[in-house]
Symmetry: C2
Subunit: 263 residues, 2 copies
């Protein structure tokens, strides 16, 4: 890193933004890298678009976590979206993103964005609203508040706040160093939904550079909900395409074998 | 790392093997990680098998570099192979692998393996043998002797030593930090062959964790040479499958765009 741009101690964590020599800004929580300007697009596109396209017409979206704004930016690319609610536990993360991470925080100023500062579990317990898509953009389960978002109770809450064809996606760690967490999240999500799948992408900013996401649906299997070329082209994406959608669901044997035995 | 197992200064480089707390042995050249026991299989399977399956019946294989033995091990899994020649410039790498990296160096003792200690370019210039598959398992072009293997002259030499349906594969760096090298290798290979493609895989042990390979063929397009499920199952692979073959050729727009303009 070249320079510390800001360092904030919030109620929950230490929030830092650094300038790097050639990769843009680096955003960290409790010294764990969350995003790097140069390649955050891979993670945010891959967390949002498979779920957004798996739903036939996503009008309402809920993002749990994601206080940097990157996932919100991706969800709002879809013209069908009328309301995207972001529920972040730490208001200081949103403040820091607004001031120091303009590439991602641009999404906060969209009139369709609605920001809540609240615990995701508490928000879901209280609200009676329903959403077409829920995206879980949490920190690691081993750090801060992230662990509360890796429980069966939480995924059941999500399912109950989804519409009839509702789709959920979640970041579910890496299959190299944290496969116990990946497995736990996947099996809990699978118990809560009629169908669930793991898919992967590279993620240069995270441990191992190889990331897993879980997608689940109350409607058709998300694997087969491949968008048309025309639909994705209009969104000007840098990573996600219809071909990448299918490719990301191809799991290598070592990863499938991790899922051979339930918890 | 837990312990230094060996440290050798050869004519070309510093060779080191470390014991890690939970990932097995780590092998480094000039302080750059080459392999880690726990996940070397991804790189070696993905460098070898797309090319091995792209050829209808690979009997003779040449590996340039790859002194740790991992690529040789993968090539020799194919029952059709009668001779696999490995040409490594540094005999000390082979010695170290034999003593300290048994998981990879097992392949050196296969009666079909033939080991040459020589510069890859010089070997190709001198030999009049032809090979069905040539695999380039080089170090980074910016370090040691690796750069000589990223030139058009070298790829032309490879093409001329391939049989009529011959296939070449090469590690061609990562698309995040070293895309200039990726691009250079790809365009040089493309000039030398009727068809060439980039494909990718995760690679937890290398910078960015996201790796590019280039495959080229004098026969049909390797993208469409998808093996049957039965064929790959008999090899007991941990990463490569027919589905992964196809998936690995799906390039995201940011990577395709890097190839929009020739050198």
């Amino acid at each position: 890193v070249k320079k510390v741009l800001t360092q904030v101690q919030s109620e929950f964590q230490t929030i830092e933004v650094y300038e790097t020599p050639s990769l843009g800004r680096l955003f960290a929580l409790d010294s764990i890298v969350q995003t790097i300007d140069q390649f955050e697009f891979i993670y945010h596109e891959m967390l949002a678009h498979p779920a957004m396209y798996a739903h036939p017409n996503p009008e309402t979206v809920l993002i749990i976590g994601g206080g940097d704004g990157g996932t919100l930016r991706e969800a709002l690319r879809h013209a069908s979206v009328q309301k995207a609610v972001l529920c972040e536990i730490d208001c200081r993360v949103i403040e820091v993103a607004r001031e120091w991470l303009p590439k991602m925080a641009c999404s906060f100023f969209d009139p369709r964005a609605e920001i809540h500062v609240a615990d995701g579990v508490a928000f879901l317990q209280k609200t009676d609203r329903l959403f077409d898509v829920i995206i879980i953009d949490s920190t690691d389960p081993t750090a801060g508040e992230g662990g509360n978002l890796f429980t069966e109770a939480f995924y059941n809450l999500c399912r109950d706040r989804l519409t009839a064809q509702g789709v959920l996606s979640a970041q579910t760690e890496n299959p190299i160093y944290d496969h116990a967490w990946m497995k736990r999240a996947f099996f809990h999500i699978q118990s809560a939904f009629p169908n669930a799948r793991i898919y992967t992408s590279p993620c240069p900013q995270y441990p191992s550079g190889y990331w897993c996401y879980t997608i689940a649906s109350k409607g058709p299997d998300p694997l087969h909900r491949i968008p048309t070329e025309r639909k994705t082209e209009s969104l000007s994406l840098q990573y996600y395409t219809p071909e990448i959608h299918t490719a990301s669901f191809a799991l290598p044997p070592f990863l499938s074998h991790l899922l051979d035995h339930p918890l």
